[in-house]
Symmetry: none
Subunit: 230 residues, 2 copies
């Protein structure tokens, strides 16, 4: 049985999340502060840690640093809206993925499963799995926040990189505007909100196109966007 350790001082949230995760078939342990967390990792034999970076009293990054200095357990960070500095700092410290708060429980479980798929079978060093991802001519380096097209660097803004990151993390799968807005801009999608479209547009212009002139980012009417391989 897979065990998840939730570290967050919002006990209401962890309670509900924990319930949901248990319904999904996980075993759940909870730590309400950083201090208690370290013991729990060991004695709960956690297979994965979900860590809230924004805690009022303790610095989540410090907790992460200490976890990493003592264990190689996979870590999924919950970060505040668009807090880029925290994200890269976290990934740099060896976190495996991040998710912008607030997020749906369904999405959280999806990410958890994705990390477990990556980390459990191969036993590959976790930092390897997160750092760079290449899909055809397109590649991103999450630690450096740099994208390249056919090995030439592409200069993206913060939001643009976030959106491309979400798309590339789910190659071939359609991603809704709502999720792109939440993960990329850090806020839920409002009605008549065209911000995502505009950002996708500028990403398209900055990265290249395939030989036939098509963009790797395709739009699905009424659905969202997909990153296609070729």
């Amino acid at each position: 049985m897979t065990t998840i350790l939730l570290i967050d001082d919002d006990t209401e949230l962890t309670g509900l999340l924990g319930e949901y995760l248990e319904q999904e078939g996980f075993r759940v342990a909870i730590a309400a502060d950083g201090e208690r967390a370290f013991g729990r990792i060991v004695d709960a034999r956690a297979d994965i840690v979900v860590l809230d970076i924004m805690m009022p009293k303790v610095d989540g990054l410090q907790v992460l640093r200490r976890i990493r200095s003592e264990s190689s357990v996979p870590v999924l960070m919950l970060t505040a809206r668009g807090d880029e500095a925290d994200r890269i700092a976290g990934l740099d410290l060896g976190a495996d993925d991040y998710l912008a708060k607030p997020c749906s429980p369904a999405e959280l479980t999806a990410r958890i499963r994705a990390i477990l798929r990556r980390t459990q079978p191969g036993g590959e060093p976790t930092s390897e799995a997160t750092g760079v991802q290449r899909e055809g001519p397109l590649a991103i380096d999450r630690a450096r926040r740099v994208a390249t097209w056919a090995d030439t660097p592409v200069v993206l803004t913060g939001v643009e990189f976030n959106i491309l990151d979400v798309l590339i993390a789910q190659v071939g799968k359609p991603v809704s505007r709502a999720e792109l807005s939440q993960q990329g801009l850090g806020r839920p999608l409002a009605s008549y909100d065209r911000a995502v479209d505009v950002h996708v547009s500028s990403i398209r212009q900055k990265i290249g196109t395939f030989d036939d002139g098509r963009s790797p980012i395709q739009s699905l009417r009424g659905i969202g966007y997909v990153l296609v391989k070729e």
Copy 2:
């Protein structure tokens, strides 16, 4: 096989670190206090020593002094964050590098490998290799706390040197203001705190620029700063 000697009285930490380092392909020996350390250096034939300066019962600097009086084995110190006095004292006593605690195992191994690269091939006396790092026209000497640009000396203040040191230790990787403040100024970053910016600004003015006029220290909006190679 390369052997690492860990000197630290936190046995839990050394145990986990040791495990990690063994996975990384090193042979690991552990000494829980200063006394036991000296014997171990000899009989474990340590190729490098990782020494915690901040030990509750013994003075790490004393241990370092005694190590240096008997051996020229490379030493990597673990120091408290921002503890400039200890760093300088340690480097003066002949330590090869330092790392602020707490640190990730990944970073520790990276530093260890860096030191081994410097010290092993040439067989040069360690004092020669001590704490100097060169990146393009820029070089720093951690023992003397001096920086040079194109081999001409650059006069930096204490904080300025710390910041440049942190940046140069992670060339090509973005470093957040929060980390620069913590490592360079010894305090967490407060809101509306512009100190880091000002220091970076004066570092930029003191060191030179590349041929195209760009500074080796580039800022990433919303992220932090990077030291680029060219």
